[in-house]
Subunit: 208 residues, 2 copies
Amino acid sequence: MVEKKISIAVINRLPKYLRYLEELAKEGVKGVSSQELSELTGFTASQIRQDFNNFGGFGQQGFGYNVESLREEIGKIVGEDMLKNAVLVGAGNLGKTIAKYPGFRNVGLNIIGLFDRNPNNIGQDIDGIQIQDVKNLENFLQNKKVHIGIITVDKESAQDIADLYVKYNLEGIWNFAPIDLDVPENVCVENVRFTESLLVLSYFLKNK
Amino acid sequence: MVEKKISIAVINRLPKYLRYLEELAKEGVKGVSSQELSELTGFTASQIRQDFNNFGGFGQQGFGYNVESLREEIGKIVGEDMLKNAVLVGAGNLGKTIAKYPGFRNVGLNIIGLFDRNPNNIGQDIDGIQIQDVKNLENFLQNKKVHIGIITVDKESAQDIADLYVKYNLEGIWNFAPIDLDVPENVCVENVRFTESLLVLSYFLKNK
């Protein structure tokens, strides 16, 4: 479907559109204009139309967009409809939060393995999945089809886990450790950076 | 120090510079060029020099930057040196992770209150702070100087908590709930968006 190179800025906006379209669909709203989407998202109406034009435009000018079909189209573009098997290493508080969050399942994340090195965590059951010793990770990756590797270990261990994910041909890494992972170009890495986010807030408090 | 309007893109890059400068300082490196910083961060050397020029430039052209003083200067700009009292509402797994993470204290975050509505969490001690009933939040905010409010509750409760933070004149909100909070313009909101991050990863897996 996507033929030309889409900029990362556009891609970063797609999940936000999706979030608002889901809200609108839940409220039973059938149609929405780019102007209305602008008021919800804070992006300009022309920005929104430009973004959508990257994917063929979706709507009819002047008639607005059909909420349900727009939601479905954008959902397909971001791959919400694609089941992605995932493993998670680092099943402490953060790892458990992620493993338990039902919203991720709604967007296709299917966590099939949880791993930790802490004996206090190993053996615990998180929504039907038992936390295993991280020593079993390599064997697990050898035997299962896994698409995404989640990293919620400390920064000292993160690269080792990433190396294993790369060795077993995982396609993407969702990284919560505060380091830049060194991986081949064909492996997608998406980082969640708590400290950087906090420092941006701190900047605005200091400079407002 | 900051006199002109700095773009959000520049501000978003500052924490990354800081992270690498801390690594370099730890390794005992004294000086660094914009070229070396470029290799570490992935930003171009000219981008880095432009960014630094927003704040007076820091270094001497041709001699590179002094790691320790650059780290200190950027730390001051982002307000790392400023102690920010914070409360957190939603002391489940995610809230506990945040409350326990030592790295946030290093950048000036001083969590002084933890609140939850779940009786199983209330009364638990997290690194010396007892989780209180969220019913006590308003009284707490009335009596303490709090700068930052952290929101780790579900999206249904997030706006109510934000309203309380606004009522008691908190300066900034660090929001982990998947909604856009409605707050006055003088209140800074920084969002951490797990699902949006996951969907960006999902997009790249689907379209690579």
